[in-house]
Structure formats: C-alpha cells, structure tokens
C-alpha cells in the first residue's frame, strides 16, 4: 500500500515537471515563465522526494531527501526573485494582454 502511494507520488511529480516545461515553452515573457517554472518544479521535486522517501525504509535516507527538498525550495525561491529583479532592472516589461 505504502509502495503504491510512493509510486503515485512519483508519477504525479513527473507530471508536474512536464507542466513546468510546457509553461517554460508556451508562456509569453520571462516573468510568466518564471512563475510557471519555479512553482511547478519545486512541487514536482517535492513529490518525487516524498515518493522515494515512502519507498525507502531508512530514517537517515528520508532525512537526506527532506534536506534536498528544503535546499531546492530555499535556493529556487531566492533565485527566481533574483532573476525577476534583474530582468525588471534591465527594462523588460511584464507582458500585458
């Protein structure tokens, strides 16, 4: 049962990675792409980590997986903000309909 849940989580994570890529390719400007990519990818990685943690039965491994996810959250969020600021400072205007 737990194995099953882990597998489902991993598959969900893969789907979120796909949606992030679709956003990266289809959205009109840097800011919307950033918006799609950072959220979808962070969540996707979280789901993959959670799935693997369910499959693993070792506390240390689960802790390491959690640490990896936390690191990606922190650095991903900050980096997105930095890129957006840099783009804004370079005079790229957000897309408007």
């Amino acid at each position: 049962m737990i194995m099953m849940a882990g597998t489902v989580l991993i598959v969900l994570g893969l789907l979120f990675f796909l949606s992030g890529t679709v956003g990266l390719l289809r959205f009109p400007d840097v800011f919307t792409r950033l918006h799609a990519l950072s959220k979808a990818d962070t969540l996707a990685l979280g789901l993959v980590c959670a799935g693997l943690a369910l499959h693993a039965d070792d506390g240390a491994l689960q802790l390491k997986l959690l640490l990896i996810w936390l690191l990606v959250i922190v650095s991903g969020a900050t980096c997105s903000s930095l890129i957006a600021r840099a783009a804004l400072a370079h005079g790229i205007r957000p897309w408007q309909r």
Binding site: L71, V74, S75, T78, S81, L82, R85, A86, A89
Partner: protein, 311 residues
C-alpha cells in the same frame, strides 16, 4: 542491459553532444556558456551511468558548479564579441576531414576495446586495500597508492593561484548596483549548510565517494556566494594569513610525505598502523586549503592589501 537503459544512455549522450556543439559554436556567447554549464550537469549524470559516483561528485561541484560560475563571471567582464564576416559554406566544408578523422578514431577505439584483454589494475588495488587505511578504493588510490599524483595536483592548483595573483589584484571584486535584498538572507541560510556539507564530504571520503576536492569545492562555493552577496575579505586575513591558507594544503601534504620518508623509509610511505589518521589529517588540510584556493581562482587576483599608508 534493459532497453530502457539503452534508450536513456542514448538520449543522454545525444543531448550531451548537441549541448557541446552549442557550447562551442552558439551564435550568442551567453548561450554558449549556458549550454556548456548544462553540458556539465549532464556529464555528471553520465558519470553516474558509468558507475563512477565519485567522479560525478567532482564533476557536479568542480566541473559544473565552479567552472560555470567562473565562466559567467568572466563573461560579465568581456565586451560583446567582435565578429568578422561569417563564411558558413567554408566552415561546413572544413568539417569533412574532422568527421572522417572522428569516424576513424571511433572505429579504432571500438576495435581496441573489444580486443583488449583488459585486466586493469582493479584486482591489484583490491588486494592492497587492507593496508590502505581507508575503505574507499578511489580514495586509497588518490591518497595512498598514488598520493604523489595528488600532491602534484594540489601543486598545479597552487601554481594556478600564483599565476593569477601575479597578474594583478582582484579584478572581479566589483559590486553591482542592482539591489538584491533576498541575497544576504540566502547566504545566511546556505553558508552554515555549505560548511556542514564540506565536513560531511570530508568524513565520507574515507568510506565512499567524497573527499578533499568536492569538499573544497563546496567550501569555495560558500565563500564565493558570501563574496557575491557583498562580503569582503577581512582586512586582517589579507596578505600573509591568506597566503598561508592557500599554501597550507600542499605544506601539510609535504610534511606527511617527508615524515613517511623519515619513519618508513620512502617518500609517502605511511606506516600502516597510522595510515588512516595520517590520511585524515592530509585530507582535512587539503580540503580547507583547496576551498581557499578555488575561491582565490574565482577572484582572479590577490585581494588588495590596504596597509599601504601605515608601513
């Protein structure tokens, strides 16, 4: 090999080749550098596929991480690329002999691999492992059986630092005007983690993949991040203390090597009962010193001494 594995390898290697081509020939310099960084990431995955996690670790930290940052920093200091008129046709024609050469080379390589008896040194290393003082074969080769290579490798890095420092003072240490309030917060969160993982990798080095170079790279990454977030090299660190930190790894290595000569009769002969503690000392000293050296490489010049008025 399962077909999925073969497909994975094929796609991985194909992407690597495409990215390598982009990295060399992309029209836009920034695109070339980003492609090259992605190429580094994929190379690390390729090392994993080749069952070489230790190389993957070094590639991830040194190859993809620090080289990429170094290239980006350099790119910011170069003007736009001046370009002569392009001769596309001529370039395509000039590819032909290279393609032929590559094909011939590949065929020869394939023939050689398939016909070699390929005993390698794997058995010999495994046989010598009990006396090595560490559990990881790769670390044993690096720090015991062929410690001489590692000593010279640290020497090469030290030479690189000396060469860069003799070019002038730290040219990369300019700051940007862009406000980035999130950055110092990020560094405050990450820096302890960098130091922690440096020591984790040093400790891992004895048992499995890890060791002085990836650990040093992580330390360097932490220091570089701090410098990018606006930290300065503290004034009392400049000059002599910094030079000691840069040279310390090589110095400790040499002392251990010469000590081995005195105690066991040969350069780098560790007495077997002390081998693991000696290797640990060398590894920690080398790791810290490598971290400082890599940061120095990133800075691209000696941090200026501000003592000019006082002497």
């Amino acid at each position: 090999m399962h077909p999925v594995e073969v497909t994975f390898d094929a796609l991985l290697l194909f992407s690597m080749v495409v990215l390598a081509w982009q990295g060399v020939h992309a029209r836009n310099m920034f695109r070339a550098v980003v492609s090259f960084m992605m190429f580094g990431l994929l190379t690390a995955v390729a090392w994993v596929r080749l069952e070489a996690p230790d190389i993957a670790l070094a590639e991830a930290s040194l190859g993809a991480g620090l080289t990429g940052a170094l290239l980006l920093a350099t790119l910011g200091r170069l003007g736009p690329e001046r370009r002569g008129p392009r001769r596309r046709r001529a370039m395509k024609l000039s590819m032909l002999p290279w393609l032929a050469l590559g094909l011939v080379g590949t065929t020869v390589l394939l023939a050689v691999t398939l016909s070699l008896p390929a005993p390698g040194l794997g058995e010999a290393v495994l046989a010598a492992m009990p006396a090595a003082g560490v559990d990881s074969p790769v670390t044993a080769v690096l720090l015991n059986f062929r410690a001489w290579d590692t000593l010279l490798e640290i020497g090469v890095m030290l030479l690189a630092v000396i060469a860069l420092w003799s070019l002038g003072q730290d040219v990369l240490a300019s700051t940007s005007r862009l406000p980035a309030p999130a950055l110092p917060a990020l560094v405050r969160v990450l820096f302890p983690l960098f130091v922690l993982s440096t020591f984790y990798l040093l400790w891992r080095g004895g048992h499995g993949p890890g060791g002085a170079f990836p650990a040093g790279a992580l330390l360097a990454a932490g220091l570089v991040l701090a410098l990018l977030a606006g930290a300065r090299v503290p004034e009392r660190m400049r000059g002599a203390p910094l030079r000691w930190a840069v040279g310390g790894g090589l110095f400790a290595f040499l002392i251990v090597a010469v000590g081995g000569m005195w105690a066991a009769g040969a350069f780098f002969a560790y007495p077997p009962q002390h081998a693991s503690i000696l290797i640990a000392i060398v590894e920690i000293a080398a790791g810290l010193s490598i971290g400082v050296m890599l940061t120095a490489l990133f800075l691209g010049g000696e941090p200026t001494e501000v003592r000019r008025g006082r002497t």
